[in-house]
Protein backbone atom coordinates (compact mmCIF):
# COMPACT_ATOMS: atom_id res chain seq x y z
CA UNK A 1 0.00 0.00 0.00
CA UNK A 2 2.03 2.91 -1.25
CA UNK A 3 -0.62 5.52 -1.89
CA UNK A 4 -3.50 6.43 0.38
CA UNK A 5 -6.45 4.18 -0.42
CA UNK A 6 -9.16 5.75 -2.53
CA UNK A 7 -12.58 6.25 -0.90
CA UNK A 8 -14.00 3.47 -3.09
CA UNK A 9 -11.34 1.00 -2.09
CA UNK A 10 -11.85 1.90 1.55
CA UNK A 11 -15.58 1.45 1.24
CA UNK A 12 -15.09 -1.95 -0.37
CA UNK A 13 -12.66 -2.91 2.39
CA UNK A 14 -15.14 -1.83 5.01
CA UNK A 15 -17.89 -3.84 3.34
CA UNK A 16 -15.67 -6.91 3.13
CA UNK A 17 -14.79 -6.54 6.79
CA UNK A 18 -18.38 -6.27 8.01
CA UNK A 19 -19.49 -9.14 5.77
CA UNK A 20 -16.76 -11.42 7.11
CA UNK A 21 -17.69 -10.60 10.71
CA UNK A 22 -21.34 -11.37 9.99
CA UNK A 23 -20.45 -14.61 8.16
CA UNK A 24 -18.22 -15.77 10.98
CA UNK A 25 -20.98 -15.06 13.50
CA UNK A 26 -23.40 -17.01 11.34
CA UNK A 27 -20.89 -19.87 11.17
CA UNK A 28 -21.07 -20.16 14.95
CA UNK A 29 -24.76 -19.50 15.45
CA UNK A 30 -26.48 -21.31 12.55
CA UNK A 31 -25.52 -24.86 13.63
CA UNK A 32 -26.76 -24.02 17.13
CA UNK A 33 -29.99 -22.76 15.61
CA UNK A 34 -30.43 -26.05 13.73
CA UNK A 35 -30.04 -27.93 17.00
CA UNK A 36 -32.66 -25.66 18.54
CA UNK A 37 -35.11 -26.39 15.70
CA UNK A 38 -34.66 -30.12 16.14
CA UNK A 39 -35.00 -29.90 19.90
CA UNK A 40 -38.22 -27.92 19.66
CA UNK A 41 -39.79 -30.25 17.10
CA UNK A 42 -42.13 -33.12 17.76
CA UNK A 43 -40.29 -36.49 17.73
CA UNK A 44 -41.96 -37.41 14.39
CA UNK A 45 -40.94 -34.12 12.81
CA UNK A 46 -37.28 -34.60 13.71
CA UNK A 47 -37.13 -37.36 11.15
CA UNK A 48 -39.36 -35.63 8.64
CA UNK A 49 -38.01 -34.35 5.36
CA UNK A 50 -37.41 -31.74 4.16
CA UNK A 51 -36.77 -29.84 7.35
CA UNK A 52 -38.61 -26.73 8.45
CA UNK A 53 -36.25 -23.84 8.99
CA UNK A 54 -38.24 -22.44 11.89
CA UNK A 55 -38.78 -24.16 15.25
CA UNK A 56 -42.28 -25.52 15.86
CA UNK A 57 -42.01 -25.02 19.64
CA UNK A 58 -43.22 -28.52 20.27
CA UNK A 59 -42.07 -29.87 23.62
CA UNK A 60 -42.47 -33.49 22.55
CA UNK A 61 -38.77 -34.23 22.17
CA UNK A 62 -37.85 -32.52 25.41
CA UNK A 63 -40.57 -34.27 27.39
CA UNK A 64 -39.52 -37.56 25.85
CA UNK A 65 -35.98 -36.76 26.97
CA UNK A 66 -37.12 -35.98 30.50
CA UNK A 67 -39.09 -39.21 30.77
CA UNK A 68 -36.46 -41.39 29.12
CA UNK A 69 -35.34 -43.98 31.60
CA UNK A 70 -32.20 -42.88 33.44
CA UNK A 71 -31.86 -39.53 31.74
CA UNK A 72 -32.81 -37.35 34.69
CA UNK A 73 -30.48 -39.32 36.93
CA UNK A 74 -27.70 -38.79 34.42
CA UNK A 75 -28.42 -35.07 34.36
CA UNK A 76 -28.31 -34.91 38.16
CA UNK A 77 -25.08 -36.91 38.19
CA UNK A 78 -23.52 -34.50 35.71
CA UNK A 79 -24.47 -31.53 37.86
CA UNK A 80 -23.14 -33.15 41.02
CA UNK A 81 -19.85 -34.24 39.45
CA UNK A 82 -19.32 -30.82 37.88
CA UNK A 83 -20.21 -29.04 41.13
CA UNK A 84 -17.83 -31.20 43.11
CA UNK A 85 -15.11 -30.70 40.51
CA UNK A 86 -15.62 -26.96 40.72
CA UNK A 87 -15.25 -26.90 44.50
CA UNK A 88 -12.29 -29.30 44.59
CA UNK A 89 -10.29 -27.66 41.84
CA UNK A 90 -10.63 -24.17 43.29
CA UNK A 91 -10.01 -25.31 46.87
CA UNK A 92 -6.90 -27.21 45.81
CA UNK A 93 -5.75 -25.06 42.90
CA UNK A 94 -6.16 -21.53 44.24
CA UNK A 95 -3.59 -21.86 47.08
CA UNK A 96 -1.02 -23.02 44.54
CA UNK A 97 -1.91 -20.14 42.23
CA UNK A 98 -1.36 -17.81 45.16
CA UNK A 99 1.99 -19.40 45.99
CA UNK A 100 3.15 -19.05 42.37
CA UNK A 101 2.19 -15.39 42.20
CA UNK A 102 3.61 -14.32 45.57
CA UNK A 103 6.68 -16.39 46.37
CA UNK A 104 9.97 -17.33 44.85
CA UNK A 105 10.80 -20.71 46.18
CA UNK A 106 13.14 -23.54 45.38
CA UNK A 107 11.39 -26.01 43.09
CA UNK A 108 9.01 -23.42 41.65
CA UNK A 109 10.12 -24.21 38.11
CA UNK A 110 9.74 -27.94 38.70
CA UNK A 111 6.24 -27.34 40.03
CA UNK A 112 5.29 -25.26 37.01
CA UNK A 113 6.64 -28.00 34.80
CA UNK A 114 4.40 -30.54 36.55
CA UNK A 115 1.40 -28.30 35.93
CA UNK A 116 2.28 -27.77 32.27
CA UNK A 117 2.96 -31.47 31.84
CA UNK A 118 -0.59 -32.31 32.90
CA UNK A 119 -1.84 -29.84 30.32
CA UNK A 120 0.26 -31.48 27.61
CA UNK A 121 -0.91 -34.98 28.41
CA UNK A 122 -3.97 -36.77 27.05
CA UNK A 123 -5.44 -36.90 30.53
CA UNK A 124 -8.61 -38.88 29.84
CA UNK A 125 -6.31 -41.83 29.12
CA UNK A 126 -5.51 -41.97 32.81
CA UNK A 127 -9.07 -43.07 33.37
CA UNK A 128 -7.99 -46.61 32.42
CA UNK A 129 -5.62 -47.32 35.33
CA UNK A 130 -7.72 -45.18 37.64
CA UNK A 131 -10.63 -47.50 36.93
CA UNK A 132 -8.56 -50.35 38.38
CA UNK A 133 -7.41 -48.21 41.29
CA UNK A 134 -10.96 -47.12 42.05
CA UNK A 135 -12.29 -50.66 42.05
CA UNK A 136 -9.70 -51.50 44.69
CA UNK A 137 -10.65 -48.49 46.83
CA UNK A 138 -14.38 -48.72 46.26
CA UNK A 139 -14.48 -45.42 44.36
CA UNK A 140 -15.50 -47.08 41.12
CA UNK A 141 -18.76 -45.93 39.59
CA UNK A 142 -19.16 -43.14 42.13
CA UNK A 143 -19.73 -39.44 41.79
CA UNK A 144 -16.71 -38.67 43.94
CA UNK A 145 -14.38 -40.91 41.96
CA UNK A 146 -15.28 -39.24 38.67
CA UNK A 147 -15.12 -35.78 40.25
CA UNK A 148 -11.56 -36.56 41.39
CA UNK A 149 -10.55 -37.41 37.82
CA UNK A 150 -12.25 -34.33 36.45
CA UNK A 151 -10.50 -32.27 39.10
CA UNK A 152 -7.20 -33.54 37.72
CA UNK A 153 -8.32 -32.22 34.34
CA UNK A 154 -9.42 -28.88 35.74
CA UNK A 155 -6.58 -28.25 38.19
CA UNK A 156 -3.91 -27.07 35.75
CA UNK A 157 -6.37 -24.47 34.52
CA UNK A 158 -7.43 -23.54 38.04
CA UNK A 159 -3.77 -23.04 39.07
CA UNK A 160 -2.82 -21.01 36.01
CA UNK A 161 -5.96 -18.89 36.07
CA UNK A 162 -5.80 -18.10 39.78
CA UNK A 163 -2.07 -17.46 39.36
CA UNK A 164 -2.78 -14.76 36.81
CA UNK A 165 -5.66 -13.39 38.90
CA UNK A 166 -3.51 -13.11 42.03
CA UNK A 167 -0.71 -11.57 40.00
CA UNK A 168 -3.16 -8.82 39.10
CA UNK A 169 -3.53 -7.81 42.76
CA UNK A 170 -0.58 -5.59 43.70
CA UNK A 171 1.59 -7.02 46.48
CA UNK A 172 1.55 -3.53 48.03
CA UNK A 173 -2.12 -3.90 48.96
CA UNK A 174 -1.35 -6.96 51.03
CA UNK A 175 1.73 -5.37 52.55
CA UNK A 176 -0.30 -2.31 53.45
CA UNK A 177 -2.78 -4.57 55.24
CA UNK A 178 0.08 -6.19 57.18
CA UNK A 179 1.34 -2.82 58.37
CA UNK A 180 -2.21 -1.92 59.41
CA UNK A 181 -2.52 -4.81 61.83
CA UNK A 182 -3.35 -7.82 59.64
CA UNK A 183 -1.79 -11.23 59.75
CA UNK A 184 -1.15 -13.00 56.46
CA UNK A 185 -4.50 -14.72 56.81
CA UNK A 186 -6.59 -11.66 57.69
CA UNK A 187 -4.87 -9.61 54.98
CA UNK A 188 -5.92 -12.31 52.54
CA UNK A 189 -9.52 -12.51 53.70
CA UNK A 190 -10.03 -8.76 54.14
CA UNK A 191 -8.15 -7.43 51.11
CA UNK A 192 -7.24 -10.06 48.52
CA UNK A 193 -10.36 -12.19 48.68
CA UNK A 194 -12.95 -9.43 48.12
CA UNK A 195 -10.97 -8.21 45.12
CA UNK A 196 -10.45 -11.63 43.61
CA UNK A 197 -13.88 -13.15 44.18
CA UNK A 198 -15.40 -12.47 40.74
CA UNK A 199 -12.31 -13.94 39.09
CA UNK A 200 -12.44 -16.98 41.34
CA UNK A 201 -16.08 -17.44 40.40
CA UNK A 202 -15.13 -17.30 36.73
CA UNK A 203 -12.45 -19.94 37.09
CA UNK A 204 -14.82 -22.10 39.14
CA UNK A 205 -17.31 -21.92 36.29
CA UNK A 206 -14.53 -22.86 33.91
CA UNK A 207 -13.86 -25.96 36.01
CA UNK A 208 -17.57 -26.75 35.99
CA UNK A 209 -17.68 -26.61 32.19
CA UNK A 210 -14.61 -28.83 31.85
CA UNK A 211 -16.27 -31.49 33.96
CA UNK A 212 -19.71 -31.02 32.41
CA UNK A 213 -18.31 -31.60 28.93
CA UNK A 214 -15.93 -34.47 29.62
CA UNK A 215 -16.88 -37.67 27.84
CA UNK A 216 -14.11 -40.25 27.83
CA UNK A 217 -13.28 -40.60 31.52
CA UNK A 218 -16.96 -40.36 32.40
CA UNK A 219 -17.74 -43.21 30.05
CA UNK A 220 -14.86 -45.31 31.35
CA UNK A 221 -15.39 -44.75 35.05
CA UNK A 222 -19.15 -44.96 35.45
CA UNK A 223 -21.53 -47.79 34.72
CA UNK A 224 -24.64 -47.35 36.86
CA UNK A 225 -24.12 -43.70 37.73
CA UNK A 226 -23.63 -42.33 34.23
CA UNK A 227 -23.21 -38.63 33.68
CA UNK A 228 -25.18 -37.04 30.89
CA UNK A 229 -22.27 -37.15 28.43
CA UNK A 230 -21.48 -40.76 29.21
CA UNK A 231 -25.15 -41.69 29.01
CA UNK A 232 -25.58 -40.03 25.63
CA UNK A 233 -22.40 -41.59 24.30
CA UNK A 234 -23.53 -45.07 25.25
CA UNK A 235 -27.03 -44.46 23.84
CA UNK A 236 -25.72 -42.92 20.59
CA UNK A 237 -26.10 -46.07 18.55
CA UNK A 238 -29.44 -47.21 19.97
CA UNK A 239 -31.34 -44.10 21.06
CA UNK A 240 -33.94 -42.50 18.78
CA UNK A 241 -32.48 -39.53 17.02
CA UNK A 242 -34.69 -36.92 18.68
CA UNK A 243 -33.37 -38.05 22.05
CA UNK A 244 -29.84 -37.28 20.87
CA UNK A 245 -30.80 -33.78 19.83
CA UNK A 246 -32.68 -33.03 23.03
CA UNK A 247 -29.69 -34.35 25.02
CA UNK A 248 -27.28 -32.30 22.94
CA UNK A 249 -29.40 -29.24 23.60
CA UNK A 250 -29.36 -29.83 27.35
CA UNK A 251 -25.56 -30.23 27.12
CA UNK A 252 -25.15 -26.94 25.25
CA UNK A 253 -27.49 -24.81 27.35
CA UNK A 254 -25.34 -24.33 30.48
CA UNK A 255 -22.30 -23.77 28.27
CA UNK A 256 -23.99 -20.76 26.67
CA UNK A 257 -24.79 -19.26 30.04
CA UNK A 258 -21.39 -20.02 31.55
CA UNK A 259 -19.36 -18.56 28.73
CA UNK A 260 -21.49 -15.45 29.00
CA UNK A 261 -20.80 -15.29 32.75
CA UNK A 262 -17.03 -15.63 32.43
CA UNK A 263 -16.53 -13.72 29.15
CA UNK A 264 -14.78 -10.81 30.87
CA UNK A 265 -12.19 -13.12 32.35
CA UNK A 266 -11.55 -15.48 29.43
CA UNK A 267 -8.92 -13.22 27.91
CA UNK A 268 -7.28 -11.92 31.05
CA UNK A 269 -6.92 -15.52 32.18
CA UNK A 270 -4.97 -16.55 29.12
CA UNK A 271 -2.96 -13.36 28.76
CA UNK A 272 -0.70 -14.13 31.67
CA UNK A 273 -1.07 -17.89 31.80
CA UNK A 274 0.50 -17.98 28.36
CA UNK A 275 3.92 -16.85 29.38
Amino acid sequence: MTAVATPDARKAGRWLYVTSVVLLCAWVIVPLYFLLINTLSAPEDVQSYPKAFFPAFDMGSLSFFVTFNGMIDALLNSIMVAGLTMILSIAIGAPAGYALSRFDFRGKELFRLLILLTRAFPLPLLALPLAVMFIRTGLDDTIIGLALVHTTLAIPFAVLITFSLFSGIPMELEEAAWTLGCTRLTAFTKVVLPLILPGIAASAIFAFVISWNEVFAAAVLTIENRTLTAFLLVKLSEAPIHLKFAGGFILVLPALIFIFAVRKYLFAMWGIANR
Binding site: P170, E172, L173, E175, A176, A177, W178, T179, L180, G181, C182, T183, T186, K190, V191, P194, L195
Partner: protein
Protein backbone atom coordinates in the same frame (compact mmCIF):
# COMPACT_ATOMS: atom_id res chain seq x y z
CA UNK B 1 9.77 7.35 72.80
CA UNK B 2 10.60 5.59 69.58
CA UNK B 3 14.22 5.55 68.70
CA UNK B 4 15.13 3.22 65.86
CA UNK B 5 18.39 1.32 66.04
CA UNK B 6 19.71 -0.69 63.15
CA UNK B 7 22.58 -2.90 64.20
CA UNK B 8 24.83 -4.68 61.70
CA UNK B 9 21.98 -5.31 59.30
CA UNK B 10 22.93 -7.09 56.08
CA UNK B 11 20.67 -8.50 53.37
CA UNK B 12 21.41 -10.95 50.61
CA UNK B 13 19.03 -11.84 47.78
CA UNK B 14 20.53 -15.11 46.63
CA UNK B 15 24.08 -14.20 45.65
CA UNK B 16 23.33 -10.49 45.47
CA UNK B 17 24.40 -8.47 48.51
CA UNK B 18 21.73 -5.76 48.76
CA UNK B 19 22.88 -4.35 52.11
CA UNK B 20 26.30 -4.49 53.78
CA UNK B 21 26.53 -4.24 57.54
CA UNK B 22 24.29 -1.22 58.12
CA UNK B 23 24.47 0.62 61.45
CA UNK B 24 22.18 3.57 61.98
CA UNK B 25 20.42 5.18 64.91
CA UNK B 26 17.40 7.36 64.23
CA UNK B 27 16.42 9.37 67.26
CA UNK B 28 12.93 9.88 68.59
CA UNK B 29 10.83 12.29 66.46
CA UNK B 30 13.61 12.67 63.96
CA UNK B 31 12.79 12.97 60.24
CA UNK B 32 15.34 10.70 58.58
CA UNK B 33 15.60 10.54 54.81
CA UNK B 34 17.26 7.58 53.09
CA UNK B 35 18.59 9.00 49.84
CA UNK B 36 20.21 7.22 46.94
CA UNK B 37 19.91 6.12 43.33
CA UNK B 38 17.69 3.17 42.43
CA UNK B 39 19.19 -0.13 43.51
CA UNK B 40 21.24 1.37 46.34
CA UNK B 41 19.33 -0.59 48.99
CA UNK B 42 17.31 2.25 50.53
CA UNK B 43 13.94 0.61 49.97
CA UNK B 44 15.27 -2.73 51.20
CA UNK B 45 16.43 -1.07 54.41
CA UNK B 46 13.03 0.57 54.88
CA UNK B 47 11.25 -2.74 54.30
CA UNK B 48 13.50 -4.40 56.86
CA UNK B 49 12.55 -1.76 59.42
CA UNK B 50 8.91 -2.32 58.46
CA UNK B 51 9.10 -6.10 58.64
CA UNK B 52 8.15 -6.75 55.04
CA UNK B 53 11.65 -8.07 54.49
CA UNK B 54 13.79 -10.07 56.89
CA UNK B 55 17.44 -9.11 57.33
CA UNK B 56 19.92 -11.89 56.59
CA UNK B 57 21.89 -10.84 59.68
CA UNK B 58 21.64 -8.04 62.23
CA UNK B 59 19.08 -6.54 64.56
CA UNK B 60 16.36 -3.89 64.39
CA UNK B 61 15.25 -2.13 67.58
CA UNK B 62 12.30 0.25 67.81
CA UNK B 63 11.67 2.12 71.06
CA UNK B 64 14.08 -0.06 72.97
CA UNK B 65 12.39 -3.27 71.83
CA UNK B 66 14.00 -5.77 69.48
CA UNK B 67 11.54 -6.20 66.61
CA UNK B 68 13.32 -8.04 63.81
CA UNK B 69 11.39 -11.25 64.43
CA UNK B 70 8.01 -9.56 64.81
CA UNK B 71 5.51 -9.21 61.97
CA UNK B 72 4.84 -5.63 60.76
CA UNK B 73 1.63 -5.34 62.76
CA UNK B 74 3.44 -5.76 66.07
CA UNK B 75 6.15 -3.17 65.47
CA UNK B 76 4.22 0.02 66.21
CA UNK B 77 4.84 1.33 62.71
CA UNK B 78 2.73 2.58 59.84
CA UNK B 79 3.79 2.78 56.23
CA UNK B 80 2.96 4.91 53.21
CA UNK B 81 3.54 3.05 49.95
CA UNK B 82 4.87 4.35 46.66
CA UNK B 83 1.69 3.44 44.76
CA UNK B 84 -0.40 4.38 47.80
CA UNK B 85 -1.97 0.91 48.17
CA UNK B 86 -5.40 2.38 48.80
CA UNK B 87 -7.76 -0.60 48.98
CA UNK B 88 -10.00 -0.39 45.91
CA UNK B 89 -12.93 -2.26 47.46
CA UNK B 90 -13.27 0.05 50.48
CA UNK B 91 -14.39 3.65 50.81
CA UNK B 92 -11.91 6.31 51.85
CA UNK B 93 -13.43 6.19 55.33
CA UNK B 94 -12.97 2.43 55.62
CA UNK B 95 -9.47 2.72 54.18
CA UNK B 96 -8.40 5.20 56.82
CA UNK B 97 -10.21 3.25 59.53
CA UNK B 98 -8.89 -0.14 58.34
CA UNK B 99 -6.09 -0.36 60.88
CA UNK B 100 -8.32 0.90 63.69
CA UNK B 101 -10.93 -1.73 62.88
CA UNK B 102 -8.20 -4.38 63.00
CA UNK B 103 -7.44 -3.18 66.52
CA UNK B 104 -11.16 -3.63 67.28
CA UNK B 105 -11.58 -0.05 68.45
CA UNK B 106 -15.19 0.97 69.17
CA UNK B 107 -17.12 2.58 66.33
CA UNK B 108 -17.23 6.10 67.73
CA UNK B 109 -13.48 6.06 68.40
CA UNK B 110 -12.84 4.94 64.79
CA UNK B 111 -15.10 7.70 63.47
CA UNK B 112 -13.45 10.30 65.68
CA UNK B 113 -9.92 9.39 64.60
CA UNK B 114 -10.77 9.00 60.93
CA UNK B 115 -12.43 12.41 60.89
CA UNK B 116 -9.52 14.02 62.68
CA UNK B 117 -6.85 12.80 60.23
CA UNK B 118 -9.15 13.37 57.25
CA UNK B 119 -9.43 16.98 58.31
CA UNK B 120 -5.69 17.18 58.84
CA UNK B 121 -5.11 15.95 55.28
CA UNK B 122 -8.00 18.01 53.84
CA UNK B 123 -9.94 15.03 52.52
CA UNK B 124 -12.99 15.16 54.80
CA UNK B 125 -15.25 15.61 51.73
CA UNK B 126 -13.93 12.42 50.11
CA UNK B 127 -14.75 9.97 52.90
CA UNK B 128 -17.59 8.23 51.05
CA UNK B 129 -15.70 7.79 47.77
CA UNK B 130 -13.84 4.78 46.40
CA UNK B 131 -10.23 4.79 45.31
CA UNK B 132 -11.20 4.67 41.63
CA UNK B 133 -12.91 8.05 41.99
CA UNK B 134 -9.83 9.79 43.40
CA UNK B 135 -6.98 11.62 41.71
CA UNK B 136 -3.38 10.61 42.36
CA UNK B 137 -2.91 13.45 44.80
CA UNK B 138 -6.06 12.53 46.70
CA UNK B 139 -5.03 8.89 46.91
CA UNK B 140 -1.72 10.06 48.29
CA UNK B 141 -3.53 12.00 51.00
CA UNK B 142 -5.65 8.96 51.87
CA UNK B 143 -2.52 6.82 52.18
CA UNK B 144 -0.91 9.32 54.56
CA UNK B 145 -4.13 9.75 56.54
CA UNK B 146 -4.43 5.98 56.89
CA UNK B 147 -0.93 5.80 58.33
CA UNK B 148 -1.49 8.75 60.68
CA UNK B 149 -4.79 7.33 61.96
CA UNK B 150 -2.81 4.45 63.48
CA UNK B 151 -1.02 7.01 65.68
CA UNK B 152 2.15 4.99 65.20
CA UNK B 153 5.48 5.46 66.95
CA UNK B 154 7.22 5.36 63.60
CA UNK B 155 5.95 6.28 60.17
CA UNK B 156 7.74 4.81 57.16
CA UNK B 157 7.41 6.29 53.69
CA UNK B 158 8.59 4.73 50.45
CA UNK B 159 8.93 7.42 47.75
CA UNK B 160 5.44 8.67 48.60
CA UNK B 161 5.60 11.67 46.28
CA UNK B 162 7.33 10.13 43.27
CA UNK B 163 4.09 9.49 41.34
CA UNK B 164 2.82 13.07 41.64
CA UNK B 165 3.45 15.80 39.11
CA UNK B 166 6.06 18.44 39.92
CA UNK B 167 3.78 21.17 41.24
CA UNK B 168 1.70 18.85 43.43
CA UNK B 169 4.90 17.27 44.71
CA UNK B 170 6.19 20.62 45.94
CA UNK B 171 2.88 21.37 47.65
CA UNK B 172 2.68 17.96 49.33
CA UNK B 173 6.30 18.19 50.42
CA UNK B 174 5.67 21.22 52.58
CA UNK B 175 2.34 19.89 53.85
CA UNK B 176 3.73 16.48 54.74
CA UNK B 177 6.62 18.05 56.60
CA UNK B 178 4.20 20.18 58.63
CA UNK B 179 1.84 17.33 59.44
CA UNK B 180 4.63 14.99 60.50
CA UNK B 181 6.28 17.63 62.68
CA UNK B 182 2.98 18.05 64.51
CA UNK B 183 2.34 14.35 64.91
CA UNK B 184 5.45 13.77 67.03
CA UNK B 185 6.34 10.53 65.28
CA UNK B 186 9.71 9.33 64.14
CA UNK B 187 9.76 9.29 60.35
CA UNK B 188 11.86 7.33 57.89
CA UNK B 189 11.46 8.55 54.34
CA UNK B 190 12.93 6.95 51.22
CA UNK B 191 13.53 9.04 48.13
CA UNK B 192 15.84 9.41 45.17
CA UNK B 193 15.02 13.12 44.89
CA UNK B 194 17.72 15.18 46.56
CA UNK B 195 15.59 18.33 46.64
CA UNK B 196 12.93 16.41 48.58
CA UNK B 197 15.60 15.08 50.91
CA UNK B 198 17.22 18.46 51.49
CA UNK B 199 13.94 20.25 52.11
CA UNK B 200 12.29 17.72 54.44
CA UNK B 201 14.99 15.93 56.40
CA UNK B 202 16.37 16.52 59.83
CA UNK B 203 19.07 14.14 58.75
CA UNK B 204 19.93 12.47 55.44
CA UNK B 205 21.49 9.05 55.06
CA UNK B 206 23.08 8.93 51.64
CA UNK B 207 23.22 5.32 50.45
CA UNK B 208 25.32 3.79 47.72
CA UNK B 209 25.76 0.13 46.74
CA UNK B 210 24.17 -1.17 49.91
CA UNK B 211 26.09 1.05 52.32
CA UNK B 212 25.36 4.28 54.13
CA UNK B 213 28.05 6.62 52.87
CA UNK B 214 27.13 9.59 55.04
CA UNK B 215 24.43 10.30 57.61
CA UNK B 216 24.25 13.95 58.54
CA UNK B 217 22.13 17.09 58.41
CA UNK B 218 21.23 18.33 54.93
CA UNK B 219 23.56 21.29 55.09
CA UNK B 220 26.43 19.15 56.34
CA UNK B 221 25.89 16.63 53.55
CA UNK B 222 25.88 19.50 51.09
CA UNK B 223 28.80 21.47 52.41
CA UNK B 224 31.02 18.68 53.66
CA UNK B 225 30.34 15.55 51.64
CA UNK B 226 32.09 12.63 53.28
CA UNK B 227 32.92 10.94 50.00
CA UNK B 228 33.23 11.59 46.29
CA UNK B 229 29.93 9.77 45.71
CA UNK B 230 28.04 12.17 47.97
CA UNK B 231 29.74 15.19 46.37
CA UNK B 232 28.74 13.97 42.93
CA UNK B 233 25.21 12.91 43.91
CA UNK B 234 24.07 15.90 45.96
CA UNK B 235 23.78 19.30 44.37
CA UNK B 236 22.54 20.14 40.94
CA UNK B 237 24.81 20.49 39.08
CA UNK B 238 27.16 18.32 41.16
CA UNK B 239 30.59 19.22 42.49
CA UNK B 240 33.51 19.73 40.07
CA UNK B 241 36.61 17.59 40.44
CA UNK B 242 40.12 18.33 39.20
CA UNK B 243 43.33 16.33 39.65
CA UNK B 244 45.82 17.92 42.07
CA UNK B 245 49.53 17.35 42.64
CA UNK B 246 51.29 18.07 45.90
CA UNK B 247 54.15 20.55 45.76
CA UNK B 248 54.99 20.19 49.47
CA UNK B 249 54.05 21.97 52.70
CA UNK B 250 50.32 21.66 52.02
CA UNK B 251 50.61 23.41 48.67
CA UNK B 252 48.82 21.90 45.64
CA UNK B 253 48.91 22.58 41.91
CA UNK B 254 45.51 22.40 40.25
CA UNK B 255 45.20 23.28 36.54
CA UNK B 256 48.21 25.55 36.70
CA UNK B 257 47.09 27.31 39.88
CA UNK B 258 48.37 26.92 43.41
CA UNK B 259 46.00 26.19 46.33
CA UNK B 260 46.39 25.57 50.05
CA UNK B 261 45.34 22.06 51.02
CA UNK B 262 45.95 19.14 53.38
CA UNK B 263 49.56 18.41 54.21
CA UNK B 264 49.96 14.90 52.83
CA UNK B 265 52.15 13.05 50.33
CA UNK B 266 49.26 11.28 48.50
CA UNK B 267 47.71 12.37 45.22
CA UNK B 268 44.36 14.07 45.89
CA UNK B 269 41.39 15.42 43.98
CA UNK B 270 40.43 19.05 44.23
CA UNK B 271 36.67 19.70 44.46
CA UNK B 272 34.53 22.81 44.32
CA UNK B 273 30.78 23.43 43.92
CA UNK B 274 29.80 25.29 40.73
CA UNK B 275 28.17 28.07 42.71
CA UNK B 276 31.21 28.63 44.91
CA UNK B 277 33.20 30.43 42.22
CA UNK B 278 33.19 33.90 40.75
CA UNK B 279 35.00 35.51 37.82
CA UNK B 280 38.19 37.26 39.03
CA UNK B 281 41.54 38.44 37.76
CA UNK B 282 43.35 35.32 38.85
CA UNK B 283 42.00 31.79 39.14
CA UNK B 284 41.28 28.65 37.14
CA UNK B 285 41.42 29.25 33.41
CA UNK B 286 38.22 28.01 31.76
CA UNK B 287 37.03 28.05 28.13
CA UNK B 288 33.23 28.42 28.02
CA UNK B 289 31.51 25.76 25.89
CA UNK B 290 27.79 25.90 26.61
CA UNK B 291 25.90 28.73 28.27
CA UNK B 292 22.52 27.90 29.87
CA UNK B 293 20.55 30.86 31.27
CA UNK B 294 18.42 29.47 34.11
CA UNK B 295 16.72 32.69 35.08
CA UNK B 296 18.18 33.31 38.51
CA UNK B 297 21.60 32.05 37.44
CA UNK B 298 23.75 31.29 34.47
CA UNK B 299 25.04 27.74 34.15
CA UNK B 300 28.30 27.69 32.21
CA UNK B 301 29.79 24.39 31.12
CA UNK B 302 33.43 24.89 30.31
CA UNK B 303 36.74 23.20 29.74
CA UNK B 304 39.41 23.41 32.45
CA UNK B 305 42.70 21.72 31.74
CA UNK B 306 41.02 19.35 29.26
CA UNK B 307 38.24 18.25 31.64
CA UNK B 308 34.57 19.20 31.97
CA UNK B 309 33.87 21.86 34.58
CA UNK B 310 30.65 23.67 35.53
CA UNK B 311 30.15 27.09 37.05
CA UNK B 312 26.96 28.76 38.24
CA UNK B 313 27.45 32.49 37.73
CA UNK B 314 25.41 35.59 38.35
CA UNK B 315 22.81 36.01 35.64
CA UNK B 316 24.20 39.46 34.79
CA UNK B 317 27.51 37.99 33.68
CA UNK B 318 28.08 38.45 29.96
CA UNK B 319 29.75 35.38 28.54
CA UNK B 320 29.45 33.51 25.25
CA UNK B 321 30.70 30.20 23.95
CA UNK B 322 34.47 30.27 23.30
CA UNK B 323 35.15 32.99 25.89
CA UNK B 324 38.06 32.59 28.25
CA UNK B 325 37.12 32.93 31.93
CA UNK B 326 39.22 33.08 35.04
CA UNK B 327 37.23 31.60 37.94
CA UNK B 328 38.35 32.10 41.52
CA UNK B 329 37.07 29.44 43.96
CA UNK B 330 36.03 30.62 47.44
CA UNK B 331 38.92 29.27 49.52
CA UNK B 332 36.78 28.01 52.44
CA UNK B 333 34.58 26.00 50.08
CA UNK B 334 37.34 23.95 48.48
CA UNK B 335 37.21 20.23 49.42
CA UNK B 336 39.79 17.47 48.92
CA UNK B 337 39.22 13.78 48.22
CA UNK B 338 41.52 10.78 48.23
CA UNK B 339 41.02 8.98 44.89
CA UNK B 340 42.05 5.64 46.46
CA UNK B 341 39.52 5.57 49.29
CA UNK B 342 37.18 8.15 47.60
CA UNK B 343 36.80 9.67 51.09
CA UNK B 344 37.13 13.33 52.01
CA UNK B 345 40.48 14.48 53.39
CA UNK B 346 40.51 17.35 55.84
Amino acid sequence: MAEIQIKNVAKKFGEYQALHDINLTISDREFMVLLGASGCGKTTLLRIICGLETATTGEVWIGGRRVDHLPPKDRGIAMVFQNYAVFPHLTVFENIGFGLRMQKLPNDEVTRRVERVAELMHIEMLLKRYSGELSGGQRQRVAVARALAMEPDVILMDEPLSNLDALLRMEMRAELKGVLAESNTTAVYVTHDQVEAMSMADRISVMHKGKIVQAASPIEVYRNPAAEFVAGFIGNPPMNFLPATATGNGQWRVAGQTFDGPDTEKTLKFAIRPEDMAPADTGLVAIAKVIEPLGAHLLVTCDVDGGMFRAVLDSDTTVKAGDRLTLAPQPDRVRWFDPETTLAVA
